[in-house]
């Protein structure tokens, strides 16, 4: 009997969310098939690749990084260079300097810096906080205000501060709101419901479901993303139809495989190669599980992952 291909049709689709303005815009999501299932139907927008830049500059002088960025620590310079990175489609600026336990840079200075970064970048912008919820809440409000009309993505609103972040970024200043949860489909959905109950439009929300490095309990990530996509497409669950963005490098750069120097672990080989391997493996797994965008750090990873996407779609 001849093989007959049946295709899996869904009546629902992931929201297509456009970020950025003018000639630097990018659409995320929009598909109505499972990840990379281009044989079931066309994939409206391929998964996107972003470059993560810390406003503290490069804290790790790796040959590949230096080779690409040169010896500059100026964040605007770094962003300009990242904008031209092969495969890069958006920039994710991390406001590490704002951390009250670190440099504790003032909100005003941060806002000014983000403004100049936005002007310098030729790609759409996502902004990630410093991790201190209180500081981030204020930062996000001021940044959303200062960049009104630029349609950036604020990463992220969490359960503790969704009201303030949703109200400022989502309602008052028309930015896209990242909704961050920690690898749990119910918590993700609850946060989306809370944001929409607040008045934030479904179509202005992007989910960060959380992640782990491949090999570090990554099954939970796969299961969560998988179930989110199945609920969104199969059950037309509008509270889960937001595209998924996954910050990968912040996870993969902090595991021991990425931290230990070659002197400490000679049998493991080059540290930089390990960093790239962990980043590539995790990012590829996230995309296969359902992420609509990944945020990466190393230029080689960015190139490899964007190459993979091109080959598969």
């Amino acid at each position: 009997m001849a093989y007959k291909q049946t295709s899996q049709k869904f009546n629902a689709a992931i929201n297509s969310v456009e970020i950025g303005t003018g000639n630097k815009t990018l659409a995320l999501g929009g598909e109505n098939v499972l990840p990379f299932y281009s044989f079931d139907g066309p994939i409206l927008n391929p998964p996107r690749v972003g470059v993560e830049i810390s406003d503290l500059g490069m804290n790790d002088k790796l040959a590949g990084m230096l080779n690409f960025y040169g010896d500059t620590q100026d964040v605007v310079e770094l962003v300009k260079k990242a904008s031209g990175m092969p495969g890069a489609e958006f920039i994710c600026l991390v406001l590490d300097s704002a951390d009250p336990d670190g440099e504790n840079r003032s909100v005003e200075d941060c806002v000014a810096m983000v403004k100049s970064v936005e002007e310098a970048a030729t790609l759409p912008l996502m902004v990630m906080g410093c991790g201190n919820t209180e500081k981030d809440t204020v930062l996000f409000e001021k940044i959303s205000e200062a960049l009104e009309g630029k349609n950036i993505v604020i990463l992220s609103a969490k359960e503790e501060n969704y009201k303030n972040v949703g109200a400022s970024a989502g309602l008052a200043y028309g930015q896209k709101v990242g909704a961050e949860s920690s690898v749990d489909i119910n918590l993700a959905k609850q946060l989306n419901v809370l944001l929409t109950q607040l008045g934030v439009n479904n179509k202005n929300i992007i989910m960060n479901l959380g992640s782990a490095t491949a090999g570090y309990g990554f099954e939970y990530v796969v299961s969560t993303m998988d179930r989110v996509k199945m609920a969104a497409l199969g059950q037309n669950d509008t509270a889960l139809q937001m595209p998924i963005v996954t910050p990968v490098s912040s996870e993969t750069w902090s595991v021991k495989e990425s931290l230990l120097e070659q002197e400490d672990m000679p049998e493991w080989g080059s540290r930089e190669n390990r960093i790239i391997d962990m980043e590539v493996a995790t990012a590829a797994a996230c995309l296969a599980a359902g992420s609509n965008a990944v945020i990466l750090r190393h230029p080689s990873t960015v190139e490899a992952i964007s190459q993979m996407i091109k080959e598969l779609i």
């Binding site: 119910n186 959905k189 609850q190 109950q197 509270a239």
Partner: protein, 641 residues
């Protein structure tokens, strides 16, 4: 050694020499001064408040004590270390579980009606509610030099003659033998006897002067993790002679069964826990009820216990540790031949204590007894029986099958783990309505007219959370939306909603609910709902197929079904599917103590139940997370159809 003086509210003082560095709570336990500590001394529940009168304590500041209270001397017993001589006042709230014992007379008709209904239902199902209890009058010849038969043989002969059981063995317990010579001679050898005919013998429980009409009494007890209730009944006609409820005195050893088991494994722990439930709780209830009904404790000749598995183990002083350890094996499901004297219960020493059977480590006799009184074992329609207690237990089925599971809801429905929570007794707010425009609330308080509210019970909490959500004062996560003038936030950022201002209430703090309380409550309701969903779905059935729901538990009779559905505690079904059946565990125990046939039925129900272990069900945790939201993460389950 520093000296600590505990002053109790009633003025009693107790001096104890503590080791330096002991906390007040540790010292109180050694000194056997009851201080309520549901969280076992982890500074998380805030219930172990004491007031420092003299001296200083090394005491950490916690969110449970306001600055005002701290200045007033209030300290948490569990975080206050003793280094010098001190005097502390143990306020009433600390010993609430003990002092709030309530003897209900027979005026509360609603409650009585529930027991009467159980009796009628069971009768209608064809089970005989009679037992072979008899009161007989024996006339004996007065002994002479020619008639030298000893007293006991004389009595046995007389009993055989009156009852017409010539060949059966007549057993006279020691308690009767001991008084026999005097009572026979003081009444000229004409006495009344209380006896029970069993299959192979007759037991002579009591002997009375002829002019006395002895009462053959039995006692039905529901031992809950948080509260205990009991009925004193006339075994001949089923009449309820007295009713009593009290907090379980074990509560100072922890709020839930796990903490109790942990405590019982410490040296002397099992004795302490047994003493707390038998001596400090049940025996005192028996005393009160017996004196209310004007009978002797020795007239109580049978007892039926319905309780969860841990509680019946601890009641008997049996090691319960294996209940909480994988593979979760209790010592027994069914138990026979326990006498009152085995466990030092102050009733007739030869009285049988019968236990409604356990079904699993976390589905106990309270549920088999409850399933009996819910009558779902006799129904055609698919029925759900829910017992809202510290452990939420659920039975689903009909006359053809019964499935059961248990979930840990925590004590929120009984007022535990809630700042102003209390059991459904005088002063408890049992219903709340909030005007969404003015923000004013209308309350219904248990007790006589104009009783000032002192706390809020389970049904009141359901109403309050539902109303707060409906009026958009809290969001779906149970967090306060700022802007309401009754909501304040403390230094830790935690929101509190003042329901009754201190000046309008019967306490110095007023009646309020905070975000931690609401979170505890949402977890409790999430546990119940997700258990219902998991249980029905494990049979490939939908919740919408449930035709009747029987709700039991000590959360107060006024449970508002509509509000319970609005917050996602119960599945969305037509409101008339729901029936409140009160303390079903107690009514099941009541029916079982009256009749051996009914007790046999309970045992049969227990054997027929299939127990599902939720903790080993991979989908349960997900369902639980989905249900910890108002009303539910999957809003479709609660939309009006």
């Amino acid at each position: 050694m520093p000296k600590i003086t505990f002053i109790q509210e009633d003025g009693k003082e107790l001096i104890f020499f503590a080791s330096s560095g002991d906390t007040v709570l540790e010292a109180s336990r050694k000194a056997n001064v009851p201080i309520d500590a549901p969280c076992s001394g982890n500074a998380s529940c805030g219930k172990c408040k004491v007031r420092l009168i003299k001296g200083e304590l090394e005491s950490a500041v916690t969110r449970h004590i306001s600055e005002l209270e701290y200045a007033d001397g209030y300290r948490l017993a569990c975080v206050s270390k003793i280094h010098e001589d001190v005097e502390v006042l143990v306020p009433d709230i600390s010993s609430a579980y003990k002092s709030r014992m309530k003897i209900t007379d027979l005026s509360s008709e609603n409650e009585l009606a529930i027991f009467e209904e159980t009796r009628q239902n069971i009768k209608a199902a064809g089970l005989d509610l009679k037992n072979d209890w008899h009161v007989i009058t024996c006339f004996m010849d007065i002994p002479t030099l020619d008639d030298t038969m000893p007293d006991n043989e004389r009595l046995i002969r007389a009993v055989k003659k009156v009852t017409g059981f010539p060949d059966i063995h007549i057993m006279i317990p020691f308690s009767v033998i001991r008084i026999l010579p005097d009572i026979l001679r003081n009444n000229e050898f004409t006495v009344k006897c209380v006896l029970q005919k069993k299959k192979d013998c007759v037991i002579l429980y009591g002997i009375y002067p002829e002019h006395i009409n002895p009462v053959i009494a039995g006692i039905a007890v529901d031992i809950g993790t948080t509260s205990v209730s009991a009925l004193l009944v006339n075994l001949e006609n089923g009449e309820i002679l007295a009713k009593s409820s009290a907090g379980n005195a074990q509560i100072r050893y922890g709020a839930d069964v796990i903490n109790r088991i942990v405590e019982s494994c410490k040296p002397g722990g099992i004795q302490n826990l047994q003493k707390a439930i038998v001596d400090e709780t049940i025996n005192q209830m028996i005393d009160e009820m017996a004196s209310f009904a004007q009978i002797s404790r020795n007239d109580i000749v049978k007892m039926c216990i319905a309780s969860n598995t841990t509680m019946n183990h601890l009641f008997l002083g049996i090691n319960a540790d294996h209940i909480r350890r994988e593979p979760y094996i209790p010592c027994f499901f069914e138990l026979r031949n326990i006498k009152a004297s085995d466990v030092n219960v102050h009733i007739h020493p030869n009285a049988d204590i019968i236990f409604a059977p356990n079904v699993g480590s976390y589905v106990g006799g309270d549920i088999t007894a409850g399933a009996l009184s819910s009558m779902i074992w006799n129904k055609e329609e698919l029925s759900l029986f829910i017992d809202l207690g510290t452990n939420g237990e659920i039975v689903f089925g009909n006359k053809d099958f019964l499935m059961t599971c248990a979930c840990s809801a925590g004590p929120a429905f009984e007022g535990g783990d809630i700042s102003c929570g209390m059991r459904a007794t005088d002063g408890a707010i049992e219903a709340v309505k909030i005007n969404e425009v003015t923000g004013e609330s209308v309350l219904s308080v248990i007790g006589e007219m104009k009783t000032k509210p002192v706390g809020i019970c389970g049904s009141g909490i359901i109403d309050l959370v539902s109303e707060l959500y409906r009026c958009k004062i809290i969001d779906s996560k149970g967090i306060f939306i700022d802007g309401n003038n009754r909501v304040t936030r403390d230094a830790f950022g935690m929101g509190t909603y003042m329901l009754v201002k201190p000046e309008d209430s019967g306490t110095i703090k007023g009646v309020f609910i905070n975000e931690v309380d609401i979170d505890n409550f949402i977890r409790a309701k999430g546990a119940i709902f997700s258990a219902i969903k998991t249980l029905t779905e494990s049979l490939d059935m939908k919740m919408s197929m449930i035709e009747s729901v029987y709700v039991a538990g000590g959360i107060g009779s006024g449970i508002n079904i509509k509000n319970s559905m609005n917050i996602g505690l119960f599945p969305k079904l037509p409101a008339d599917c729901y029936h409140y059946i009160g303390n079903s565990s107690l009514s099941g125990a009541y029916a079982s103590v009256l009749s051996d046939k009914v007790f046999k039925k309970v045992v049969e129900i227990g054997r027929n139940m299939t127990y599902i272990e939720l903790s080993s069900n991979p989908g349960y945790m997900d369902e639980f997370m989905a249900a910890c939201f108002i009303p539910h993460t999957d809003i479709n389950l609660f939309e009006e159809k």
